[in-house]
């Protein structure tokens, strides 16, 4: 709970209140639970990946171009998110806002291409009910996409609070926590990139 405290001037703003410190630690632990959640989805996907029934093979429909655009957008957004937190630590609200809004733009771009890709797959005759393999694909990748969507709304809400209240120990802890979340989604994407798309295409095209 928040107390007025004395601290080292080098302590980042987000760590200056007791609430901030507790919330950040709690969020790290929550990310541990998220790792367990995604690990379960990955394991499910890998068990089911060859069970395509009468539907198309996964690698058959994957497209390199869309994959690379999505990957580029999301990885860049993680970098700009890092820049935003860097600006926050310099107490530069404008810089924080600017880089975070760029991050959100890149996140929206990622979602646009992901949705396009899903629509393309559905058009080609692969949807969540086509086969066990496609169920695994849509739910794993879709859960990640749902996380990104949630993240976009969440970051927007936090930015509104920063705009209204400025940078305080409370608002800066919120920004920092959303940044942890955003980077985590980036990490998950790297696993999806490898385990779903690369392996899928290599298995299919040899």
């Amino acid at each position: 709970m928040a107390h007025a405290e004395t601290h080292d001037p080098n302590t980042p703003l987000e760590y200056r209140s007791e609430t901030g410190r507790l919330n950040i630690l709690g969020f790290w632990i929550f990310l541990g639970a998220e790792v367990a959640l995604f690990a379960t989805l990955f394991a499910t996907y890998m068990v089911l990946t060859h069970r395509i029934a009468d539907g198309p093979a996964l690698g058959e429909l994957f497209e390199v171009k869309s994959l690379l655009i999505q990957t580029f957008l999301l990885l860049t957004s993680s970098f700009t998110c890092g820049l935003a937190v860097h600006e926050m630590r310099r107490h530069n609200v404008k810089g924080l806002m600017l880089w975070m809004i760029i991050t959100l733009g890149l996140g929206l771009g990622f979602l646009y291409f992901e949705i396009q890709e899903f629509l393309h797959f559905i058009h080609e005759g692969a949807n969540i009910g086509t086969s066990a393999a496609w169920s695994g694909f849509f739910v794993l990748v879709g859960t990640h996409g749902a996380h990104v969507t949630f993240g976009i709304f969440w970051v927007t809400m936090v930015l509104i609070q920063v705009a209204k209240r400025g940078l305080t120990p409370a608002t800066s802890a919120k920004v920092f926590i959303t940044s942890l979340y955003w980077h985590f989604l980036d990490v998950v994407w790297i696993f999806i990139f490898t385990a779903v798309y690369l392996m899928g295409m290599v298995m299919h095209h040899g």
């Binding site: 928040a2 107390h3 609430t19 709690g26 639970a33 069970r51 066990a132 695994g136």
Partner: protein
Amino acid sequence: MKWDEFFVTGDPMIYGADVSIVLTMVGILFYLTRYKKWKWLWTEWLTTVDHKKLGIMYIVSAVLMLFRGGVDALLMRTQLAVPEAKFLDSQHYNEIFTTHGTIMIIFMAMPFLIGIINVVVPLQIGARDVAYPYLNAVSFWTFFIGAMLFNISFVIGGSPSAGWTSYMPLASNELSPGPGQNYYLWGLQIAGIGTLLTGINFLVTILKMRAPGMTLFRMPMFTWSSLVTMVIIIFAFPILTVALALMSFDRLFGSHFFTLQGEGMDMLWANLFWLWGHPEVYIVILPAFGIFSEIISTFSKKTLFGYKAMIWSMLLIAGYSFLVWVHHFFTMGSGAAVNSVFSITTMAIGIPTGVKIFNWLFTMYRGKIQFTTPMLWSLGFIVNFVVGGVTGVMLAMAAADYQYHNTYFLVSHFHYVLIAGTVFGCFAGLIYWYPKMFGYKLNERIGKWVFWLFTIGFNVCFMPQYFLGLDGMPRRVYTYSEESGWGPLNMVSTLGGFMMGIAFLVLVYNMYYSFRFAKRETTGDAWGGRTLEWSTPSAMPPFYNFAKIPEVTGLDHFWRQKQAGKVEKLTAKDIKKIHMPSNSGVPFIMGSFFFVLGFGFVFDWIWMAFLGGIGVIGTLIYRSFEYDDGYYVSVEEVLETEKISK
């Protein structure tokens, strides 16, 4: 959907339940209005973020669920008392064993223990509240709403009937049509959110909120057991979340995770379920181990024997708990190599558990043992739990398991560990910390009656089931033939079951009797305790727990202070203003929206689920924009509460 499909109809027992539900609701509404209790209910309970009150609400809910699950159990025992009985038909019997198992594990055992953890752990570590008091209220309300959603199934829409394990394809749309199975999926999903949040909350609380001087290896054993339990929750519950979501997708959106069509894999469900389900078993036993450790130490007047060995055993058990899940389906074709590995890990988990048993015995050795009711439950635990443990090792041998699998031998085994371990632990903890929660003890004489009735009834009920199992009686059958020869032992078992039911009623009577007549405690130290929760000057700690945060110098700090005659007395100059979190009605409202969401999905009314979802998100946004830093309790108020003159 027609009304006669919406409400369950046709069975006189269900109509009886309808009537009793309506009468109870009317009675509660009448009482609250007649005695003008609405405001009290809202400000003192529904909006509270005080860990002690939330703990009490958890425990009250769990006792109600124990009643519900117990009635289910007695209905089953009645049906099985004689061969070819016509009391329940097969569908009704299936529904009852499904709700019995689900309710007892998810909505009774876990909340009972989480309730005790809520009340006790912050006090044991010398904290004024948990790390996230608001989140704690969210945890409670999501649990409570999940439980209510699951419970209304038997009068609205019909109960699930695929067993608490809900194996696929039995639980699929084709074989379990209708809303029953959806109640299982959404009731557990919503309650599971609360459990995960509890896991995070208490892990951070224990890691970060301990009183100065309380290093990790100076923590009371119950706090240690809670810490380990929270770690298991954090890694196990996301697996359940995913498994339930995937089955929901199979049922609602036609995906093929566990179905027979589309090359889905039914065994994947069994694996995911038990990957969560086995750690779950330890989630409900480790806190009970912690409770027994506190009680045995207190009433032997000795420090716990092998404190560090106890901790390392628990950590080992926590690790192993994720490595044994296949032993739940040795017979389902995993092959000899896989079965051997899991057979060995399963037997290995008996070693740290055995270490703990010997530690409790050595704690008592040469101790001055007081036979209070909590101590009786602890002693009963050791004897009966070992019976469950030994038969567990028998089941762990994969080759032999082909004989025991799916028989009453297994049913008896897990009741011996879950009742003698978890339920005895819940009762022992409830009685032990009752004066901390309510300011008076439960009557000891009636308590001893409860103990003997329950323990004898328990053995009369379940011991015959080992032999029924060895004689080949399968579990989950609604009746059996005269020629099977299982009639007499089943009758004995049923009589034991009813004895346990009577013991439960006597326990409830004891709560009423003690409320009326028990001597009120005048100090905070009702039993001659050893840990910080007993060091508060008043029997029930004030809402801020400690006027002055204690400084801890070692294990059993309070006990050693008492022995040295150096218990600190608070003086006016020790008192500073105290920061506390504000109450909030949002968690309750969020829970209500979760109910709308879950109910919508149960009946596949997507518009309703959507509205509920909007409501949940709305409350999240509201909370995000609310900057409430709590408030300060003034020095004057603390002085007055603590009865210290200036």
